[in-house]
């Protein structure tokens, strides 16, 4: 390696950034040494992604300076120079939906063929190799907009890592990934680290930090709190640094009363199938019960959820509290008492231009006043309540959700799902990109709500999410292949999810 361990590869000193009235970053300091994998953690809205924006030359800092290998960073205009210094997987999806996966992977560096013209065959070949090496099950010719969230994330990672940059930033790369993909990602990071590549790794999954990082930097309230070797920061101290108080985290749901089998069902699926995705499924969620549905991307768990809430055509019957719900109509599903939290907040979670309050109350717009009138007072009141309940970090109920940090946006979407106090919640990947404390509070909310007699269908492959569930169903290839009650063994579950345990069910 060229760099000797002394001079930091990347240095950010006293970075400050305001967005209008919001201070996103007050005093951002970061020092990344050559060859290390450096963790950056902090609660939602702590300023991590903002720092990333500054480090990649996409945001102009109001104050402070960035140095690469001791030399000051290139001018913002010179994108090429920046790209030589740093590659990045951004938290917000950054693909061009209408371009093919292949082109997204090699944007602005497509391989040339004869007469200096681009050569689609070569492009496809290069893309195929790259994707295969990550064994990402994606056709390089499909438009990026047709990818699932997970696939898109993998494509972005593969692309960023293929730049050959010596410094790579990963802003919550694992948030959308399932266990096996994460494992593969970490293998790959290990390989590159051996080749001397340096990483800045942002995640809300603290175990991952301990797994792959050597040093960790903690941000809180827009400022740098501490930087230390991970060895010296045990879980408790790390969390304390993040949330700024001593009390640790509670494992939500460990004390849930078990739901007697004869309890009335609140959600009943009778032979509900999703054409071309999921075969007819029977499933019941009892009052006060949280039923988890685990499974891989291909399992069709997400599609099933979308069918339940009326976003997809379906076969079979769905009963909520004993009353049938008309198919393929979201309004009908809502009125029937189903609350929904979609998997991909950016695509169908929130309206970026509208305020926190407005997004949070979108499902109850009819209850904010008489005769379809919406009283801003009432709306903002509800908005404030949501902000308080879910601990959303925002300038106030009137801030556009598009300006919120990823995790806080997710909380707003959760608020939207809860707003109509539904009989049953359908949650898909509810804790994606949510910090430890907020995850606790989000799952806490689900726990609370269900104790009050609601039911919840929790579609996720996050072990932490599934731990809250009273029962966990495993879907593989559109069929339910296993069912566990609380206290299941993680290894077994993972095996089943990956389709290995399939045969012996």
């Amino acid at each position: 390696m060229a760099e000797d361990g002394s001079t930091p590869l990347v240095e950010a000193v006293g970075i400050a950034k305001r967005f209008g009235p919001t201070v996103a970053l007050a005093d951002g300091n970061l020092t990344v040494l050559p060859g290390e994998t450096h963790a950056l953690v902090g609660r939602n809205g702590a300023g991590k992604s903002t720092l990333v924006g500054v480090l990649t030359g996409l945001l102009r800092a109001d104050a402070g300076e960035v140095r690469f290998g001791g030399r000051p960073a290139p001018p913002l205009g010179d994108r090429v120079a920046w790209r030589r210094h740093v590659a990045c997987v951004y938290q917000k999806p950054s693909v061009v939906g209408d371009l093919s996966v292949a082109e997204n992977l090699f944007l602005d560096r497509q391989p040339r063929g004869r007469w200096g013209l681009l050569s689609p065959p070569r492009l496809r070949r290069a893309a195929t190799e790259l994707l295969d090496s990550w064994s990402v099950p994606v056709d390089p010719d499909v438009p990026a907009k047709e990818l699932t969230v997970e696939q898109r994330q993998l494509v972005e990672i593969a692309g960023a890592l293929s730049h050959g940059a010596r410094f790579v930033i990963l802003d919550e790369p694992t948030a959308q990934l399932e266990a096996r993909a994460i494992a593969r990602l970490f293998d790959r990071l290990a390989d590159l680290k051996k080749q001397g590549v340096t990483f800045l790794f942002i995640s809300h999954h603290l175990p991952e930090i301990y797994q792959i990082c050597q040093r960790v930097t903690v941000f809180r309230d827009a400022r740098h709190i501490v930087t230390a070797p991970v060895a010296e920061m045990d879980h408790a101290r790390l969390v304390e640094a993040m949330i700024g108080e001593a009390r640790g985290l509670v494992q939500v749901g460990h004390d849930r009363p078990s739901v007697p089998p004869d309890t009335a069902p609140v959600l009943t699926l009778e032979a509900v199938g999703v054409p071309a995705v999921a075969e007819p499924v029977d499933l019941t969620v009892r009052r006060g019960e949280i039923v988890g549905v685990a499974g891989s991307v291909a399992s069709g768990k997400r599609e099933l959820a979308e069918a339940v809430v009326g976003l997809r055509p379906r076969t079979g019957r769905i009963l909520v509290g004993g009353r049938p719900v008309r198919a393929a109509s979201v309004p009908a599903a809502l009125r029937g008492g189903i609350g929904y939290l979609p998997a991909d907040r950016n695509s169908d979670g929130f309206v970026p231009g509208l305020s926190v309050a407005e997004n949070a109350t979108m499902t109850v717009a009819d209850r904010l006043g008489p005769f379809g009138v919406v009283l801003p007072g009432r709306r903002d009141a509800r908005g404030r309540r949501a902000i308080a309940d879910l601990d959303v970090h925002t300038a106030g109920p009137r801030q556009p959700v598009g300006e919120l940090s990823g995790g806080n946006a997710q909380k707003v979407v959760m608020a939207r799902a809860l707003a109509r106090d539904p009989q049953v919640l359908v949650l898909v990947q509810p804790t994606v990109g949510v910090d430890v404390r907020s995850k606790e509070s989000l799952l806490g909310v689900v726990d609370e709500e269900t104790r009050r007699g609601r039911g919840a269908l929790l579609v996720s492959d996050e072990i932490d999410d599934l731990r809250v569930c009273d029962r966990v169903l495993v879907m593989v290839a559109g069929r339910i292949v296993a069912e566990h009650t609380r206290g299941w063994d993680e290894a077994v579950l993972v095996a089943e999810i990956e389709g290995i345990g399939e045969k012996d069910v």
Partner: protein, 349 residues
Amino acid sequence: MSETLAVGAPEAPPQPPKRSPRAVTRLRLARLRDLALIPPIIALLIYGYTLKPDIFLTKSYLVDTVLKYQTELALLVLAEALVLIVGKFDLSLESIVGIAPAVAVFLVVGQTTALGAPWPTWTVLPVTLLFGALIGVFNGLLVVRFKLSAFIVTLAMLIALRGLQLAIVGGATISNLANRVPTIDNLGSLRILTVPLSIWIVVVAFAVGVVVLGYTRFGRSLYAVGGNADAARAAGIRVERVVWTAFIVAGALAALAGLMLSARLGSVAANQGNGMIFTVFAAAVIGGISLDGGKGSLVGALCGVVLLGLIQNVLTLAQVKPDQIQAVNGLVILVALVLARLTSGKAQD
């Protein structure tokens, strides 16, 4: 401390007093953006005053020579704003301005016995509105159901309707209406508190519009659908219905604008409304309505209308040479844009 104040201690249950000041600034900002056009408007008023100190700033002048001539445009902009906010386009409004009154009037005074014409004169208003709404239904059908491009559907509709109008009235101007159709006579000459009826109509329309867009479920769903249709759908908003309704209302409003224009001119020219759509978009976009949908306020749009009207009028007053008036007009608009941009500090789209 200001930083911590800014970000707020996350774990502290929100709503500490610190939040309110920022919410306020945000409000002020938003309002500011609506009013970005006020400075250029004031500039024009001052200039106009220097040109004709004696009369320019009198109510009668502003009402009778500036505002009265912007009423139809204002209604059209209102209509287009609805469609733009919901994320679509409607070019056909321009032709509705012509054909809706043409049809209604033709059935009343035209030399025809089709559909049992001549119809009683009171039918003019309802028929006009109905016809406009019908066009809206048809546009909606093609855009919502057949998923065709709104821009091109309404463009084709524009061409077709123009043609249809020619086919119906045979290119002739239906003239001398004031004396033949009471509705139109009133619409054209009635005054309430010395202010022309047409202006009152616009005022009411915008008042209602502001309330509906800002404070009703339907109005807000327009913004939601325009901002992110998928999210809106997932939240249970009936996207198709909302879009469709926007087209229908817009059609009816355009028809009303057309009738008001005919009333003012006392006739329905075969090319009534021709080329208006450009001005409509100009006013709407200058007023801060985004072509990408989901953004913009009616107050801003109204400012846009007033601005354009003032420019026209002031240029006439200044007696710019006829062959230069257009060039100046374009330049003034550009300057106004830059001014608005600088004062509001917001990038446009």
